[in-house]
């Protein structure tokens, strides 16, 4: 029953098995020697490859691979009414699709708790860091605003979807353009030919850690995710502040959480220096 699905899938909760406990033993042995099974250092991020969409039907796209985890994020826009409790802000809607082609344990159907959690992790990071300036997405405050839809597609699940999706979304938004809308004298919207960039600020980056035994590892691979005792994701903004946290599985001690925050802050600086090029379009707007 377990054989085919042993190593796959985010449904860790149902899928722990004898196989994963053997794998965990092996991992712990290697970690004791200061090695991860793929040869990385404990706080080393896998290779990131980004292909921002150059020709897109939507407002913007980004394809990203994080050590083989492949995701594609599309940004679409529309105009409509704001939410009644935020009449002066644009609307942003996030959705994650765990496509059945990404893992044998993903099934078609309405979003499950994992896909909802992932979408909310990305959404919270963007919102609490104010990455997208929603105030500037209001056209006629209280009446008409831009609606931004962030559709995140998981194409190949090899661990750490949260970080891959967040980074891809940040890049896609930085490079997105939306049609300019002005208002006629009687208040009806006129859609112009001119395209304007989505107003974004300093990128927010999510960092996912797992704990295996007493070892804290950054950017877990799928095997590490499955063998892990606990998993947490935290978002760091341009000022090194922590913007959102989600303890996703297991437990951590308070000293471990403070330590991970420190590591994440350092790693953000490191990552940003290599990202400047891809984020260029967005940088020009701020």
């Amino acid at each position: 029953m377990l054989r085919g699905r042993l190593w796959e899938g985010i449904k860790l909760y149902e899928e722990e098995s004898i196989g994963s406990s053997l794998m965990k033993e092996y991992m712990l042995k290697e970690l004791k020697n200061g090695r991860r099974i793929d040869g990385r250092a404990f706080h080393e991020i896998r290779r990131v490859e980004i292909r921002p969409g150059s020709y897109t039907k939507s407002c913007g796209e980004a394809w990203l691979s994080l050590g083989g985890t492949k995701v594609l994020v599309g940004v679409s826009a529309d105009i409509g009414e704001p939410f009644p409790d935020t009449p002066e802000k644009g609307v942003m809607v996030s959705n994650v699709e765990l496509l059945p082609l990404a893992s044998p344990s993903f099934e078609p159907g309405p979003p499950d708790e994992n896909s909802i959690e992932l979408a909310r992790i990305v959404d919270r990071a963007l919102r609490s860091s104010k990455y997208v300036d929603l105030d500037r997405l209001a056209i006629a405050p209280g009446k008409l605003v831009y609606l931004l839809f962030l559709d995140m597609y998981v194409l190949d699940h090899k661990g750490n979807l949260a970080d891959a999706l967040t980074l891809a979304t940040v890049v896609a938004l930085a490079r997105s353009k939306i049609p300019k809308v002005s208002l006629s004298s009687d208040g009806t919207p006129i859609v112009m030919d001119e395209q304007i960039p989505v107003p974004v600020s300093d990128p927010v980056i999510n960092f996912t850690f797992v704990r295996i035994g007493d070892y804290i590892l950054l950017d877990p691979s799928l095997e590490e995710e499955i063998a892990s005792d606990a998993m947490i994701t935290m978002a760091i903004d341009g000022q090194g502040r922590v913007c959102s946290i989600q303890l996703r599985r297991g437990f951590f001690r308070d000293v471990e959480i403070k330590k991970m925050y420190e590591i994440a802050r350092e790693k953000r600086k490191e990552l940003m220096s290599s990202l400047e090029g891809v984020l260029k379009v967005g940088q020009e707007t701020t």
Binding site: P111, E113, S128, D237, S244, I245, L247, R249, F251, F252
Partner: protein, 253 residues
Amino acid sequence: MLYVEKKPEKLIDENGLRTDGRRPREMRPIKMEVGVLDRADGSALVEWGGNRILAAIFGPREVHPKHMALPDRALVRVRYNMAPFSTPERRKPGPDRRSIELSKVIRNALEQAIFVEKYPGAAIDIFVEVLRSDAGTRVAGITAASLALAEAGIAMKGLVAACSIGKIGDVIVVDPGHDEDMWGDADMPIAVMFEDRLITLLQMDGPMDESQFSEALSLGMSCCELIYELQKEALRRPFVFVERKVVGGDQTV
């Protein structure tokens, strides 16, 4: 559209008091009662500020559907649900994205405390119903569900106590109320299994720098400790009467 929330002018006034008159490190009044439902295996009612939360446990019991059963441990399921009348504006009944996510993190927070290996093949169903909501429903829900688990006699490593920490401007406040939840700058719910000081739920929303974060984290631990003491008191209370009869009972009867 009948109920539009109005933002208060200031969340903290010139005397350093919050909109409901509390000081930054003052919690709202909390009331806990265990064993409030007859049919459930364990239950608890928690009133925390304006929150009114009912938790019930069914199990360990047979798993339905059967294929969900785990051969080596109990299946823990959580349903967090808000009543349509728990907020001024009616909520659509049934689970939304928020409550599905909360059910998941609450399940993790409580599962860490249960000896799941003791009940292979069984289900432990935890229901958290928010009857009236006033900010901090997830932490009040965890506090209630943990009491209900204990009352159901489920083998546990410890009680899980939970509390929220907020930020208004640069001030870290404990147990944010409704206004602070709506318009505050950050919110950090935390749940702790106190016997070993293990954090089993941690979420955060809104930026904090390093010193604010470590202040919030240590305040969160202290608040949970306070809740933990109350939980122990609430669990003991139904038995106080019995205890008195045995120890100080009238010898002449």
